[in-house]
């Protein structure tokens, strides 16, 4: 399974959520409807965010990388959310600081043997300026996959 497969299983979504609580509610509704997650997914996601914040300052488009243990997840997938209003997250590497996040990468890992290479390749998305610029303009999953094909 490679990065494109993860996105094919996932989606690209524009959200007007104003904070991570609104966003995680939205994620939970969608993922439950798809039968991708267990019933206690939302609780696990919020608990994780509070104990181990996920905001990352990248220099250009700041990101967040929410994540839960495999036991709450039924599928391997990557959902990329673009936050039209941006939302404040606490920084992963320094809990005394916050960051205004524009893109949220929700990585769902059910299969722990999912190739290390695939997870590592995730960084190629947000460290690539062309791709991050492109993410401002793509409208849906098929446009995202098309863009990644040419730029990754």
């Amino acid at each position: 399974m490679n990065l494109s497969d993860l996105i094919k299983n996932g989606d690209f979504i524009k959200s007007s959520a104003k904070n991570y609580h609104e966003l995680y509610d939205e994620m939970n509704d969608r993922l439950k409807m798809m039968n991708y997650v267990e019933n206690d997914f939302l609780e696990a996601l919020l608990k994780r965010e509070e104990a181990y914040p996920t905001g990352i300052q990248t220099g250009t488009y700041n990101i967040a990388l929410p994540h839960v243990d495999a036991c709450y997840v039924k599928q391997n997938a990557l959902f990329i959310y673009r936050l039209v209003n941006k939302a404040t997250f606490i920084r992963m590497d320094d809990h005394s600081k916050t960051v205004e996040v524009e893109f949220v990468f929700l990585l769902l890992i059910h299969d722990l043997k999912l190739h290390v290479k695939t997870i590592s390749e995730l960084t190629h998305i947000w460290t690539n300026h062309d791709i991050m610029e492109g993410l401002q303009f793509v409208q849906d999953k098929s446009e995202l996959l098309e863009m990644l094909e040419t730029k990754l």
Binding site: R48, A51, Y52, P53, I56, Q57, T58, G59, L65, H67, V68, D69, A70, R91, M92, D93, D94, H95, L107, I109, L112, V116, K117, I119, S120, L122, T123, W126, T127
Partner: protein, 91 residues
């Protein structure tokens, strides 16, 4: 042989990204190593037998061995400095 703990919230996502960078770095410098990838809660159980902790996260706790925050391996900003710090810590 250097034993290195690589930890994140779950021991799955960001620690996997960091592990692959550390593996590359240490191979390049012909340093032999044993990586222990785990969650932050599990650090305690490995710390007595390890030389270094590398993590993406604010640990909010101190340990008797050195620690390096390697968020730069996720962002690529300042990653060369982080590599240097890891090599120094293992000398």
């Amino acid at each position: 042989m250097k034993r290195i703990i690589i930890a994140c919230g779950s021991g799955i996502a960001t620690s996997t990204i960091i592990s692959s960078r550390v593996t590359e770095l240490l191979d390049q410098h012909h340093i032999s190593y044993d990586l222990i990838q785990c969650s932050l809660q599990e650090i305690d159980s490995y710390v007595s037998e390890a030389d270094l902790i590398i993590t993406s996260m604010d640990l909010q706790k101190s340990f008797p061995i050195p620690k390096i925050t390697a968020i730069s391996f996720l962002t690529s900003i300042g990653d060369k400095e982080t590599e240097e710090a890891i090599l120094q810590a293992l000398k």
